[in-house]
Symmetry: C2
Subunit: 306 residues, 2 copies
DNA sequence: ACTATATATACTCAAATTGAGTATAATGGA
DNA sequence: TCCATTATACTCAATTTGAGTATATATAGT
């Protein structure tokens, strides 16, 4: 880097990586190739006006449907990211996209429950058993860190909700990085069964995407991009719970949603389920042109945990 | 993009762009070259292990000081970003860095008040006069948009706090994009005096950085990276106000800061000012190792507006 | 038809937080 | 001394949150 703004030309290989998310039932899923081991990726074509346009094009071809939400995630550029090609530096520009349930074309695309890659992140049915196993190995690892044992102990406690700390679902990326550093995932040489591994650093990219989504849902109404046209309040709640990996308090969740004025009754009812039929709602897209709203402060929820 | 993960090799020019922020007095400043018209940038050198390391190296050389906070901002890659070179696509990976006041080396570096580029974003001394002028031109522009007049009217009202909308400081990027689209900034052909222009899309990059910082400060204790080792509560408040471009309610701000337990008294007092001497405080970095904390939820403030 | 179960929706209420103040303390300078 | 200025402490009503209970309306089984 120099002060003149002129630069020697440096050439690198550039690709796009897409993290596409959709719900199948109560499972938050990610689009993969090679049976769950790779995120879809491809070269960044010069013909496109910009990255976003290129991706949208490609996604439309693959899913046969337009995509509602698409935003840049992160650019990965470390050396040695891609095995077997240490001499080439691949710059991967990743994007996060949300796809609506009813638009999923099951024949063309493989969707993979993201919690198969991060089993310790799903607390919807209580604390996952694997947590204790991970903590055991982590503490053992920390004890070998000369002079850093205490710091690492605190880090483990903080990230995995030990002692007086609460589990914080936003820290998924930090947890994966800690496990990687401690050699407890396949990608860093472990033989333990700690979630399904992925090609190169794709699992790290997926963790980045989930972290972004879990953070974003708290101040922006992105869940609706994952809902079908009509939905019940419980379906909405289940999808939010799927994203954050925790269950929520029912009546408080409803109060908050209704307060926001983001949805309206369609007049119809859902009759498939057993009990009293639930009212169907629609997202009031009309509240404002989507572009103007982008980035606005619509706190979706503060804390409705059970 | 294809499904196999194999990709034709596509070569582009890659550079790093740094948005470095520091306070000088009560002015939030950005490091520039060419007297405020360019953000510092340079080639991404293959010798570096990763982007972050490359940037840190370079910044240390320039500022003679280590940098506390550094995170990736966005990757810009549209065609025709850089004038006079339409045939080359430059991919710019931008980073946001925070530099501490006492570390500023004024001889080597130019620091530029960022509000000179965005005069409509500083509401600390009340509503900036330029707002009414901008709104007048925006509405005129909107009225020429066949079939879209109403939507654009709503967008303008929302972004510039008209009608029943409140000014939302987080929307700085959207406001700049609207002004650009409406041809009201130099970069999109205007001759109006609407803030100092910058080279290529650097003003847009700066807006992205400020937006990120304004959003981030609400849930993470990043301000402390901009404070000197010791500071008074008022100095802290003034810096937060500088970032968000609004004044805050004094006692509520203090209550919130003290609640967080992020600072502690040093025992010393500030005697430079006129009235009663203020206690000096330090950031309790010890609360936790910085790395473990990164990304944690420490809501800095919800709303302490005056 | 009746009952148990499941689900939806409505309502309650104490505790905590927020927004907007006022009151008092400690300094320097006229 | 008194006043302007800044710091710090304290107050309190309104709102929001967290954690419930109560009631309504369906299906499945007997």
């Amino acid at each position: 880097m120099n002060d003149q703004g002129k630069s020697d030309i440096v050439l690198n290989q550039t690709e796009l990586i897409a993290v596409l998310v959709a719900f199948i039932g109560d499972k938050p899923c990610v689009m993969t190739i090679d049976n769950g081991s790779k995120l879809p990726s491809g070269p960044f074509e010069l013909s496109h006006k910009n990255l976003q346009a290129g991706l949208r094009d490609w996604i439309r071809k693959q899913t046969q449907h337009p995509i509602g939400f698409l935003e840049q995630l992160y650019t990965f550029a470390d050396r040695n990211r891609i095995p077997d090609h240490p001499e080439v530096r691949t710059i991967s520009i990743s994007y996060l996209g949300l796809v609506r349930q009813h638009q999923i074309n099951k024949k063309l695309i493989q969707w993979h429950d993201w919690y198969r890659h991060f089993p310790w992140e799903d607390w919807r049915r209580g604390k996952p058993e694997i947590i204790e196993i991970l903590i055991k190995h982590l503490l053992h690892w920390a004890n070998t860190k000369e002079g850093l044992t205490l710091v690492q102990h605190k880090r483990i406690a903080f990230l995995f909700g030990m002692d007086h700390y609460h589990w914080n679902e936003d820290l998924i990326l930090q947890r994966y990085e800690l496990l990687f550093e401690a050699g407890l995932v396949f990608e860093s040489g472990s033989t333990l069964q700690t979630g399904e591994p992925m090609f190169a650093d794709h699992r790290r990219i997926l963790a980045t995407a989930i972290a972004r989504l879990r953070a974003k849902i708290k101040y922006k109404a992105v869940v609706f991009e994952l809902m079908p046209e009509q939905f019940t309040l419980l379906q909405l709640q289940r999808n939010v719970e799927g994203l954050i990996g925790q269950t929520l308090h029912k009546s408080n969740f409803r109060r908050m949603i209704e307060q926001q004025g983001l949805i309206e009754e369609t007049g119809g009812y859902e009759n498939e389920s057993r009990g009293r039929p639930a009212k169907l709602f629609t997202y009031r897209r009309s509240v404002m042109d989507e572009r103007a709203l982008s980035g606005s402060k619509l706190p979706l929820f503060k804390n409705n945990l059970n």
